[in-house]
């Protein structure tokens, strides 16, 4: 077990190198001169532009820029943004907020999705199942920005149940509404996955055996059916955690959450290479750890799955 974990952690090194390289290349490949955008609708003098280019190493070829960046990381220097703030500080203030938001969204979508999916699966073809499908469909067919606007308008402005945007410091009560909105994206997937898995598990021999043994449904449903149905759901939810970390751009923008999605989006649009790469690097690390935890969780959910031979 320990050997397996160690091996997985070592694999992080090539993944990190691969990702940073790929991202740096993509930022580099983005057409347009990020420095020109600093001047708005005005055009800077060529000499000033040239000096700025040197200052940000943008006059260097791609591979040199990449190694300059990598070299900086080894000295604990992630670079600075155009606004003069060290990228390390940006990471330190945005990740805690977004992780908090992502965990809240994950709990909401997981608990809500699994429960509704379970009931749907057990009552396949019944009214509850059909209603759950309709609700899921609404969430699927409306883009996140519509859901976010509507939620903000109804719960924030008209009913006044929640704060319209997140206040300074991003306290948990302000994050509830954005978390529900974020959860709505994947909610449908979790419901459908759980439902399908429950339907399949229900017909398996050990479940029939359990009923045959006269075990109560109260015991069979959580222990036999649910536990054995969770593997695809947990896997999907874990991949979603990654999406929640970076993909919350729109939601974070609408609710003004000072988190990763919003900051990363600005950095991408502004072409701030070091900021983008540093964000994604931290993201990859979190993502690798989450995946490792999920892989270990499989063993708990289904003892037949083992990694150590």
């Amino acid at each position: 077990m320990a050997g397996y974990i160690l091996r997985r952690l070592l694999q992080a090194i090539p993944v990190l190198l691969g990702t940073t390289f790929l991202i740096y290349f993509m930022v580099f490949a983005m057409p347009g001169d990020p420095l020109l955008a600093l001047f708005g609708d005005k055009t800077p003098s060529p000499a000033l532009l040239e000096s700025l280019r040197q200052q940000y190493h943008l006059d260097q070829p791609f591979i040199i820029q990449y190694f300059l960046y990598l070299g900086g990381i080894f000295h604990g220097d992630f670079g600075t943004s155009f606004s003069g703030e060290p990228v390390a500080d940006i990471l330190a203030r945005t990740f805690p907020v977004t992780i908090r938001l992502a965990i809240m969204a994950l709990i909401i979508e997981f608990v809500g999705g699994v429960l509704i999916g379970l009931v749907s699966g057990l009552r396949k073809g019944k009214l509850f199942d059909a209603s759950a499908l309709v609700v899921s469909l609404i969430f699927i067919s409306l883009p996140i920005f519509v859901i976010a606007f509507v939620a903000q308008f109804i719960f924030g402005i008209q009913l006044g149940w929640a704060r319209t945007t997140v206040s300074s410091g991003a306290p948990i009560q302000d994050l509830i509404l954005p978390a529900f909105v974020l959860a709505s994206i994947t909610f449908a997937q979790i419901v459908r996955l759980t439902r399908a898995s429950v339907i399949e598990t229900q017909s398996l021999d050990f479940v029939r055996t359990a009923y045959g043994k006269g075990l109560s449904r109260r015991r069979i449903i959580p222990v036999h059916i649910l536990r054995n149905s969770l593997i695809p759901v947990v896997t999907y939810a874990a991949t979603d955690f990654g999406v929640l970390l970076v993909g919350a751009t729109v939601t974070e923008g609408i609710f003004n959450v000072p988190g990763v999605g919003r900051t990363l989006y600005q950095a991408i649009v502004r072409g701030e290479g070091p900021t983008v790469v540093s964000f994604v690097t931290v993201m990859v690390l979190i993502y690798l750890v989450v995946n490792l935890v999920v892989d270990l969780l499989y063993g708990l959910l289904d003892p037949r799955i083992r990694y150590v031979k």
Partner: protein, 547 residues
């Protein structure tokens, strides 16, 4: 087999209700645990107003800030030689007098006894040192070009001082320009010309995160700038100028989207908003009532057709086609339907809030919607050389331009019967690169927000031969001559009359097709009063009172 089937047919309605209860309980638990950690609002000093802002793109150094997010903050933190009142008229702030005989050499006297918030006196060297710093190529300041009018400026070779700047004594200095420029005193309210305290030059990077100024407000604390969240300013009791705050301070909350800011205004979390998002233009008047603001501002919007484009050269065909396009655009309808009257159809190349603006220039009828004449002119141009293809307008799609570009394209399409559409660029950087490199092969959107309230600022940078922001590469000897004449006039009225004549040349050539002036749209909460918006679309925060 049937024995097992009952497993699937359980009555689990009970279970369903349980599920809902569980979700509700977890939601309660979340909000419950949260209520304990609720952040306390500063109810004690209720006089601090909150206003929308955006994270400054650059460190807060006057010579390095060229966008509105940082500019708004700097204008509150600093007092320059002059400030602009609500109408854009310059009023002495730190300056005592600004005098000249020839519009080329200026003698500037400043008030004595002015202080920075760290206690240092504001002297003539506070200005001269700051300007020299901004002009020095080694410092790569974004506002470097503002000093190019001063004698001795060299944009490539680093130099520590400009020969045109001379300190006479602690309260007097002289400025010599490379050529006569009558509107120089008018420019001095722009943030690039603010003074800097001595301590700034020791460590400019640290200063940019925690600036010390001499203006109506100062930073509330050393860590007042919470990146991407907000910056808190409090009134500076040492400030003696005309912008004395009547409130305790301003907190600028940074928003990534105007929609979020608008939601906060309606939700009671924001006092003043200076831009209504496109998605709420249809509702904001109903939402805000008499607290809605919609007044002209110094923003001019247009699209530019580069002279290099086939069929649009600086010749008879090009002029006919430009005039035809201009007359094919139904400006009043677009500003009404798309912008809900928050834009004003253009009648010149400047803005109605600028002194010297006129809506009756000779040739301004080319800006009136006239489908029949448009068709006739286009047909005349076709007789010279037949048109084929699609007329496209380039824009950056990371901002809300698509809706009006589509409307303008449709107007052209419906009037002239040609194919017309928008040509989006994903990012602003890519769009500007295509424009400035000359690689763009379509017309493209252009806009100008005045840095200082003068006609010259709308004309010289955009249309003078080889000027910095002349993106269409327009060149007209006649226009250049009249413009230069206006710049050297010492009488403001005579200068404005020259600038109007220069625009009549533009109306013939139409290097850019004027569309409309963007109004300032905003609103405020019922907790504040005496909210007035200035010529530059920014509220006069110092006048606002909060109950």
């Amino acid at each position: 087999m049937p024995a097992f089937c009952t497993g699937g047919k359980l009555k689990i309605r009970r279970y369903g209700i349980g599920a809902i209860a569980l979700v509700a309980a977890s939601a309660l638990a979340l909000s419950g645990c949260a209520s304990g950690s609720s952040t306390s609002t500063s109810a004690s000093s209720s006089a601090v107003i909150t206003a929308n802002g955006s994270e400054p793109q650059n460190p807060l150094i006057p010579t390095n800030t060229n966008e509105t997010g940082g500019g708004k903050i700097l204008d509150s933190l600093f007092a320059g030689l002059v400030y602009y009142d609500a109408t854009g008229k310059p009023v002495n702030d730190v300056a005592d007098s600004i005098t000249t005989d020839d519009a080329q050499t200026y003698t500037i006297k400043i008030k004595s006894g002015e202080k920075f918030t760290n206690g240092d006196p504001v002297t003539s060297s506070s200005f001269v040192d700051a300007w020299n710093y901004g002009a020095n190529a080694a410092n790569t300041q974004l506002n470097q070009s503002w000093f190019s009018i001063i004698q001795g400026f060299d944009e490539t070779n680093p130099q520590t001082s400009l020969s045109g700047l001379k300190v006479v004594d602690d309260t007097t200095f002289t400025v010599t320009l490379t050529e006569p420029l009558s509107d120089f005193p008018l420019r001095l309210g722009y943030s690039a010309y603010y003074p800097l305290p001595k301590e700034a030059f020791d460590d400019m990077a640290a200063y940019g995160q925690n600036p010390i100024g001499n203006g109506p407000y100062k930073l509330a604390s050393a860590d007042a700038w919470k990146h991407n969240e907000q910056i808190s300013l409090v009134a500076n009791s040492d400030y003696t100028g005309g912008r004395k705050p009547v409130n305790g301070g301003v907190t600028f909350k940074f928003y990534a989207s105007e929609d979020a800011a608008y939601a906060d205004l309606l939700g009671g979390n924001l006092d003043i908003l200076d831009s209504i998002p496109a998605a709420s233009l249809a509702n904001y008047k109903a939402d805000l009532g008499d607290r809605a603001v919609n007044q002209p501002a110094a923003i001019f919007q247009s699209f530019t057709i580069p002279a290099s484009l086939a069929h649009f050269g600086n010749n008879q065909e090009g002029q006919l086609r430009r005039a035809a396009l201009s007359m094919a655009i139904n400006r009043p309808e677009i500003t009404k339907v798309i912008f809900q009257d928050t834009r004003t159809p253009a009648s010149d190349f400047t803005s109605p809030v600028i002194d010297g603006w006129s809506d009756s220039l000779t040739g301004a009828d080319v800006l009136t919607y006239n489908p029949d004449k448009a068709k006739a002119l286009w047909a005349q141009a076709d007789a010279i050389s037949p048109w084929s293809g699609t007329f496209q307008i380039g824009y950056n799609s990371d901002s809300s331009h698509q809706v009006w570009v589509d409307a303008v394209s449709n107007s052209i399409k419906n009037t002239l019967g040609i194919d017309a559409s928008g040509a989006p660029y994903p990012t602003f950087a890519e769009f500007r690169t295509a424009v400035t490199s000359g690689a763009i092969t379509t017309a493209f959107r252009t806009g100008w927000q005045a840095d200082y309230p003068g006609l010259y600022n709308f004309l010289q940078p955009l249309y003078a031969t080889n000027a910095s922001s002349n993106d269409g590469k327009y060149s007209s000897a006649e226009f250049d001559k009249i413009l230069a004449q206006g710049a050297s006039e010492t009488d403001a009225a005579a200068a404005n009359s020259d600038f109007q004549k220069a625009q009549e040349v533009l109306l013939k050539d139409l290097p850019a097709i004027p569309l409309w002036y963007a109004n300032v749209t905003g609103g405020y909460a019922d907790t504040v009063s005496n909210v007035q918006f200035g010529w530059n679309s920014v509220p006069l925060y110092y006048e606002v009172t909060k109950s």
